[in-house]
Amino acid sequence: MIDPAQNLDAERDVLIEGSQIRAIDRPGALATLASQASRVIDARGKILVPGLIDVHVHLREPGLEYKETIASGTRAAVLGGFTSVACMANTAPVNDSDEVTRFILEKACEAAQARVFPVGAVTLGLKGQALAEIGLMVEAGARAISDDGMPVMNSRLMRRAMEYARTFDIPLISHAEDLNLSRGAPMNEGAVSSLLGYRGNPAASEEIMVAREIALARLTRARVHIAHLSTKEGIAQVKRAKEEGIVVTAEVTPHHLLLNDEFVLKGRHSCVHHQMRSDYKMAPPLRTPADQEALLQALESGVIDLVASDHAPHGCVDKETEFEMAANGILGLQTTVPLLLDLVARGGLSLKRMIESLTTAPAKLLKLDELKIGKLLPGYEADLILIDLGREWTLTPDALASKSKNSPFLGRAFKGKVILTMMGGVIKQEETA
């Protein structure tokens, strides 16, 4: 059992009763109780960790159900080991009201897969003009606010949003991108964009906005979370802000850890095969190998707090098109664990930090402790998963529960897999050897 929240890495037996963990003890200590259990799972040789938490996914419902639904997205979540996901507000209609927040929660309840924590919009319609009804959304169940890919350019409005978020003690998640600098750019600005003749999204576009968010966090004392950090200088700024005592946290995606802009050059163009060039198109864009290396170091050292998948399903119609017109983003829920295990195997990331970045750190951001979620302790929700580090497998389109198949990792061989996911005491997926 690994639970970074308790600094625990030891062999343990767990007793689950109803939806909760009832007891945790040394191997064999619960033997008497186990004899009365309706089922005993032999997890020897596997790793037991808290159910994973992804603070950044796109479930596309309401409005874009051809890409994903709450049911298909949360199914992908449990298959990937996530028992809790926070979904972004860029649906149609936008989640900028308590009605939409409630709709999402009802759908999630019907689907009965992973827990869903809606992220409310910062501004009405993600338009960056007027604050959404943040308080009402929080009351309905939203646990953070973000305009994500439509970042608030107006610094005065962003200041107000941060102050207002403080009122309800929720984090404001910022997709840090200066849209004036990045306009029309389908990829990172650098040698590859120059070669291919694409407009570039310069690292400065992120750096400027990270600096602004930190300055506003200093001013407002709000909890600011930087989404999908992608640049070396962005990391340096977060590090300095933390040293100063500003409440800022940051996330990184698996694809920014595993890939860089040179993959855009390698991406094939065939529509028949997988791995089109557009499968390497996302916002923020894949940066340089130097940024990639810095991100991994920052995750390991804790400057970057957590990993979020930025699960972004898109249909063929959105991706099988001219690169500049293609939609941003790739799937993430079912590839996050195996990709991070790749990094662990290569030695760039410790298993403890990997688990922490997917459990303890995101639980802290969304304050899930008050819901008894995110730790393996008696009295907590029985959200837990088993990982088999030795399981070898290959990612195929059929294995993806998502309605979309936009992953550059299709066909990739992995070692290590989530083989059991339990949410609220119920096994949602289980694989036999």
Binding site: A191, L195, S270, V272, H273, R277, E320, T321, E322, F323
Partner: protein
């Protein structure tokens, strides 16, 4: 099997480049010999972005080889109704075509199409990426002028070519940098920093001269590029007046050229801006030669890729 295409210069082998250029010499010398090369073949002229000279040039080349063109014009097509590029090309392919000549405003689109069809694709300019046939006809024109026909290896050793103007948005410049360097030329890019790509490290070695007055006396050939106003949504140059003052090919600048230096322009020209009439129409100008040679070079590419002519 993926058919042999011509998508960008950086993807062409040295052998292939030499074959295109030497076949172009043969066709130009004896067009009659090749007049039936594309007999019974249909070439789709797939111009999703507007073009006059490149399209006419490819159509003329197809005609000279005895082939038939089917012309697609984006402005009157279902692309305007929102049909996707993929659906459009897969539909057009059902009409029985043997090759696609393609222009598109978005870089990489010919490669995208080449992955979806089973006939050769020839890139006639994609976004700001490459315009390989333009670079080949430019090289052909220079080699012909310098009597180096057939492009022996390193045939442009010792020659300096200055490319002047809007390099950032220019697919012509990108293809030329790759090709001229392959042929052994020294390449100078001359433009304000706002019109240069930010990172040239994946290109062959080039030199940067921000000031045209420093570049001109070194050059054996000066290639002026069109300022692309349709792409100028940014404030890249303060004014046309200022641009002409620093980077225009004026008669005064012609006076500081090497004695035998020549001038090229891929067209269409903005006369009085990047090039003055006195220069464009001077004896140094190879501009009309470029247009003429474009037909022969494109014919050579069509003959090899669509007609199956062996080098």
């Amino acid at each position: 099997m993926i058919p042999d295409s011509c998508l960008h210069i950086r993807g062409l082998s040295d052998d292939r480049i030499r074959s295109f250029l030497s076949l172009a010499v043969s066709i130009k010398r004896d067009p009659e010999k090749y007049s039936q090369t594309l007999k019974g073949k249909t070439v789709l002229q797939f111009f999703v972005e507007n073009s006059t000279r490149t399209r006419m040039s490819f159509e003329a080349a197809t005609r000279k080889l005895g082939g038939t063109s089917v012309v697609f014009a984006a402005a009157t097509s279902s692309l305007q109704k929102g049909e996707s590029l993929l659906d459009t090309i897969q539909t057009l392919c059902q009409y029985g075509i043997d090759g696609i000549v393609m222009r598109h405003s978005s870089g990489g689109s010919p490669e995208f199409v080449a992955g979806a069809v089973s006939v050769p694709v020839i890139n006639a300019g994609d976004g700001q990426h490459e315009h390989p046939t333009q670079a080949l006809l430019d090289a052909f024109t220079l080699l012909e002028h310098w009597k180096l026909e057939g492009a022996p290896k390193n045939s442009l050793n010792g020659k300096t070519v200055a490319i002047v103007g809007d390099i950032l948005h220019s697919r012509v410049a990108r293809s030329n940098v790759h090709l001229l360097a392959r042929l052994g030329a020294r390449v100078i890019l001359c433009a304000p920093q706002t019109l240069l790509p930010s990172d040239l490290s994946l290109f062959p070695a080039v030199e940067i001269e921000h000031r045209l007055d420093s570049a001109i006396p070194q050059a054996d050939a000066i290639m002026a590029l069109r300022i692309q106003f349709e792409r100028q949504d940014d404030s890249l140059i303060p004014s046309k007046r200022e641009y002409r003052h620093f980077w225009g090919l004026t008669p005064e600048r012609m006076a500081i050229m090497k004695n035998d230096a020549v001038v090229l322009h891929p067209g269409p020209m903005n006369r009085g801006l990047e090039i003055d009439p006195e220069v464009a129409d001077s004896s140094r100008s190879l501009i009309l030669k470029q247009v003429e040679n474009g037909v022969w070079v494109r014919a050579a590419i069509l003959a090899m890729l669509v007609g199956g002519v062996k080098p």
